[in-house]
């Protein structure tokens, strides 16, 4: 299988005087069509890693390759294009415009991509059909439940037919029942459409459902599950 994203010796340091090393040499390779969970507790560097993988941030040192190209050498415009055309984003906090209609929220990425009015409407309705919210197209974001909001966000993430979906704690704000629906939806997209799924989470349950788990601790990839993390999970359940 071909690699879609890979990193070599990835470092990320924040701050100028008091340096904080968020990533300390991460090597990984994500193949096309895989579902990968990046697991770690807060402060482990998993969010920083996701931002760099999603080309939203640049590493201090090391290499990021996207479709075999060196991403650190790509121009900003090209990075914008890759994110707009090939990536889909799902966030824990949804980030949808609650005052605008569901349809307009889903249309947004296509609008940014410069797709014509009729075409983008058609594709947004298709995406809403996939998440089974076609009857809510005209509703305001405010009228929706949390689970419905996240489904709208998934529709927004898939409307541009992406190769990769980045999901940052996609079920973090949802109860377990609606969380399960969202998980099913995301893994369904992974299986049926072959979309590479990268889930960032501290939730071991959703991580288990992925093809592969990458554990991050103190800015490094670790082989074993973090002890503290599993203990904590046990306590919670």
């Amino acid at each position: 299988m071909t690699e879609v994203i890979g990193t070599k010796n990835l470092h990320k340091t924040y701050g100028k005087r008091e340096k904080f090393e968020a990533l300390r040499g991460v090597d990984l390779s994500i193949k096309k069509g895989e579902s990968v969970a990046i697991i770690g507790k807060s402060g482990s560097g998993k969010s920083t890693l996701m931002h760099i993988l999603a080309l939203l941030d640049t590493p201090t040192k090391g290499l990021v390759s996207i479709y075999g190209e060196n991403a650190t050498k790509l121009r900003k415009n090209k990075l914008n294009h890759i994110r707009g055309d090939q990536f889909g984003f799902v966030f824990q906090q949804f980030f949808m415009n609650s005052n605008d209609s569901v349809l307009n929220n889903v249309i947004l990425p296509l609008k940014i991509a410069g797709v014509g009015k009729r075409e983008r409407r058609k594709r947004a309705l298709e995406a809403l059909k996939t998440v089974e919210l076609i009857d809510k197209a005209k509703n305001k974001g405010n009228d929706l439940s949390g689970g419905q909001k996240q489904r709208v966000c998934i529709a927004r993430a898939i409307v541009n037919n992406p190769d990769i979906i980045f999901a940052d704690e996609p079920t973090g704000n949802l109860d377990s029942a609606t969380g399960a629906t969202i998980e099913k939806l995301l893994f369904g997209l992974n299986k049926d459409k072959g979309i590479t799924l990268i889930v960032v989470t501290h939730d071991a349950d959703i991580a288990k459902k992925c093809d592969r788990q990458i554990y991050i601790s103190d800015g490094k990839v670790v082989n074993k599950p973090d002890e503290n993390l599993t203990e904590k999970k046990v306590e919670e359940s």
């Binding site: 931002h51 900003k76 994110r83 055309d85 984003f89 947004l108 991509a113």
Partner: protein, 431 residues
Amino acid sequence: MSMKFNDIISTANSNLMRNKGRTLLTVLAIFIGSFTIILNVAINTGVNSFIDKQVESVGGEGYLDVAPAAMISQMEAMGSSEPQEYLPEENSSAVQSISEETIKKTEEIPGVTSVDPFRMISAEYITSSNTDKRFKLDIQGMGTDKIHLDIAEGRSPSADNPESEIALLPNFATALGFSSDADAIGKTITLAIKNRATGKLSNIEATVVGIQAPSVISMGRTWISQHLHEEVFKMMNVGVPAEIANLTMALGVDFDPEIASEDEVKQALEEIDLIGLSVADEIGMVKTFFDIILIVFSIFGGIALLAASIGIINTLFMSVQERTREIGLMKAMGLSSAQVFLSFSFEAISLGFWGSALGIGVSILVGSAANSIFHGPGMFLEDFPTFNLVEFTFQNCAIIALIIMFIAFLAGTLPARRAAKQNPIDALRYE
């Protein structure tokens, strides 16, 4: 892959509509500035076009009113309370008159075709055989045929023919007992003239040849033929010593503009201590008065616009603050910084557009209301039906709107830059 231009514009507009109250207040601030400036420009256009029309209709090319330059400097010295030392060579009591010698020198200026000493005349009253009523008036001879009066009926009194002719002011015909303006033409009226030596009144008759239209040039003066002017002067000065009667205070100078330009003649006059004013110069004095008022109001308008610009900056900064997350999300989805900048700039330009559109709309309403009010009975434009105090041209409105939109754009660059510089990660983390 880049957002379509009309999508950027419609996004900007829908963002403005999200906070209608704030947008409206900002537009209102721009409106105040644009309204003031547009109205000012419109008044300026109105006054200018009126003056141009007047100058055009009056003509006066190749004619100068000439007075001693010392008169002007004396007028300037009037405000001074400092004691000024007497200098015999200044000849202070005589400076106001023009000597025979100076008149000769004036005639010798290249291009000058004729020089007429201007002799002050006055009439006690005007009356006619149709009425017992007597009316006061100012009379003035047609010193040159280069000035065209604005005549509503009939023609101008002659400058050359040895006839006693008069062009009445509006409303005089009916006051003097004629049934209409047209009825008065060709009829005879009587002027009463007071002798300067004896104080005795005597009558002189004149034929009405025309009725004047209201204009700046006539300014309440009744114009008579040059022949009648000279007759009146003679009647006034019977028994008055010639050196007093013939004291020349001013000259009417005709020149051929093809031989010497107006400026050249003025220059030559200056060398012999005279000052020449063309008709356009005299009307221009009226304009200066308007200009000063308009400059003051334009400054007010400018200050209002400056305040409005700060309002735009403030509004957009608030908007950037509120939409931090949304901007971050859109940038994550591939929107470029340049397009974020463009979108916010369009919001600013849009504010400028609506502010100036409102300003133009309201000032056109106010302006046409003012025009009809000032043309109403008893108002100062009653006698000037062709003079619109406020005059709008499409070009002026468009230019002002563009300038205001540009100012709004400049004000918007600060918040737009802040929005464009936002890092999507920071924006998405922002709580």
